[in-house]
């Protein structure tokens, strides 16, 4: 692909939320790991749906319903294209969390005390608690991959760990939401596949920044959230290799997912339909469709290059401040800086930064086990996205210095 221009001014301009002032300062939004801002085209798509296309999908004979259904199913095709998989392998959920729960529930009748589930200590709570529940329900053993002191995985050690423990399921994040570290997935998946383990990848943080080719990645399941990839809230994606997907037990039941319903029993449709009951988040799906279109116009290689440059710049500036400790792996990162200043509480610095219009997050970032492992109560997290500018970094760093001065 020819090197395309990445016009950051134009891009930033596409995101209306970024144009506002917070506490009389221009907003510097560094909380994209929590949720990304939305381009105007996504907002417009939602608006258009409710203004002129609103109807329930499937089974409607009238034009509005037909049209909404077509757009809704086209969004599934686009999602499948984005990840290089088949449309029938895409299930809409309400978020990454629900997608993981769906898989956990779907394995319940198959797992027992002879099964082992491997997670890592890097995981978001969404990829920990559902497996604790499955373990309690079935007796399956739940163990965690060893994590280095810097929050990274020793891949050789982890691969051995997998081969030794022969899990039925390996479930691991593509990138840490707390530190931004990117997991080197290929060798881990290879190790798991050698012993025929199922593999689930939590792509909540990776799906937009890294645009994985899931066919190539060779995982069985992959989950992500629309709201973390420029799309609307209330929507997630579950990819499942068709055979693995269709083999899962049904999760929620009701309308749409059924074939025949009698008073005493029912029959279900094949995947993905059998996992999609009730009226879906239609506006969410159509907005997500627009988000994928938008990402497509930018090209993922350009996004990655720009984000890497920006991250390198931010790291350089941040390390130059005396007393700062950065916990993120700086060489392989989706653009998230997790740090502390001396032994100051992140709450104070986050509150003060907000005074300067800077949105960062403070706390355990839904990764308590990781924080415990690192011996921390929490960190300040500044997470970048391709709509952030070098000027954002400058304002952030200068404001941080002023906040530090305020603490004395």
């Amino acid at each position: 692909m020819p090197a395309l221009e990445f016009d950051i001014n134009k891009i930033k301009n596409d995101f209306p939320t970024l144009k506002q002032s917070i506490n009389d300062n221009p907003l510097v939004y560094l909380d994209s790991a929590a949720t990304t801002q939305k381009p105007q085209s996504v907002i417009d798509a939602i608006n258009e749906f409710y203004t002129s296309q609103n109807a329930n999908v499937h089974r409607g004979r009238h034009t509005l319903s037909e049209h909404a259904t077509t757009l809704y199913e086209q969004a599934r095709d686009k999602t499948a294209d984005y990840f290089n998989v088949l449309s029938k392998e895409i299930v809409w959920t309400k978020g990454a969390t629900e997608a993981i729960n769906l898989v956990g529930n779907g394995l319940r009748s198959r797992f027992n005390k002879d099964d082992t589930i491997i997670i890592s200590a890097l995981e978001h709570h969404a990829n920990i608690v559902p497996w604790q529940v499955l373990s309690q329900q079935t007796g399956a053993k739940l163990i965690a991959l060893p994590v280095n002191d810097d929050g990274t995985l020793n891949i050789k050690q982890c691969s051995d760990f997998i081969k030794q423990n022969k899990p039925s399921l390996l479930t691991i994040t593509q990138a840490s939401n707390a530190l931004g570290n990117i997991t080197n997935l290929e060798p881990l998946i290879k190790a798991a596949k050698e012993i025929n383990s199922l593999v689930l990848i939590d792509g909540a943080q990776g799906a937009m920044h890294l645009k994985p080719d899931l066919r190539e990645l060779n995982c069985d399941f992959y989950v992500c959230s629309s709201h973390k990839m420029l799309g609307p809230t209330g929507l997630g994606v579950l990819y499942g290799r068709y055979e693995a997907l269709n083999a899962l037990d049904v999760y929620q039941t009701g309308g749409e997912m059924i074939d025949k319903v009698y008073l005493t029993h029912s029959t279900y449709r094949p995947a993905p339909a059998k996992f999609e009951t009730g009226t879906p988040n239609i506006a969410g799906v159509l907005g997500f469709s627009a988000a994928l279109d938008y990402l497509d116009t930018l090209h993922s290689s350009n996004i990655q290059q720009y984000e890497n440059d920006l991250f390198t710049y931010a790291v350089e500036k941040l390390v130059s401040i005396d007393g700062i400790t950065i916990y993120s792996n700086l060489s392989n990162n989706i653009g998230t800086l997790s740090f502390n200043f001396k032994d100051e509480h992140p709450y104070d610095l986050a509150t003060l930064l907000d005074g300067y219009g800077i949105a960062v997050r403070a706390g355990h970032h839904c990764a308590q086990p990781l924080m415990t492992h690192l011996g921390l109560n929490g960190t300040l997290r500044a997470s970048f996205c391709f709509y952030n500018t070098h000027k954002d970094v400058d304002i952030f760093i200068n404001s941080l210095k002023e906040c530090i001065d305020l603490l004395d």
């Binding site: 004979r61 037909e66 259904t69 077509t70």
Partner: protein, 138 residues
């Protein structure tokens, strides 16, 4: 295009108002023989349709042609089925793969009835016919 198809769809083609178009489609449906009840098995039912659509796509080895049979409990779908039958019935696999039902339905102003979201079974029928023909060729 077969002569049957041209003859069958002539009146639809000519219809100016949409009402007239539907009237012709329904008339067409009436010309289609009713499937004997014994053939209306659950296996022959196209899944996921609001209306009931039964379909059989067979291959006549002797003649090297496709045999397509179908019925529906609705007038409009049955009329659309009649169009599909006129389009493909009695053709060789090679002929079948060269006929694009989407194009023909588009010309007739009926393309919306072939959209994926219409759960009327017509699209499923076309897909099955094309798959069968492809299969026979290779």
């Amino acid at each position: 295009m077969t002569n049957t198809f041209k003859k069958v769809t002539e009146s639809i083609d000519k219809a100016s108002a949409w009402q007239q178009k539907y009237r012709e489609i329904m008339l067409l449906g009436k010309t289609l023989p009713v499937l004997p009840d014994v053939l209306k098995t659950d296996d022959a039912l196209v899944p996921g349709c609001e209306s009931k659509v039964w379909m059989f796509v067979e291959f006549d080895l002797k003649e090297n042609t496709l045999v397509v049979i179908g019925d529906s409990d609705t007038r409009i779908v049955k009329g659309l089925l009649a169009i599909i039958l006129a389009l493909y019935n009695g053709l060789t696999p090679e002929q079948v793969v060269n006929i694009d039902a989407y194009e023909e339905f588009d010309k007739l102003g009926l393309i919306s009835h072939l959209s994926a979201s219409r759960g009327n079974g017509i699209k499923a029928m076309v897909d099955k016919i094309q798959t069968m023909a492809q299969h026979k060729i290779s």
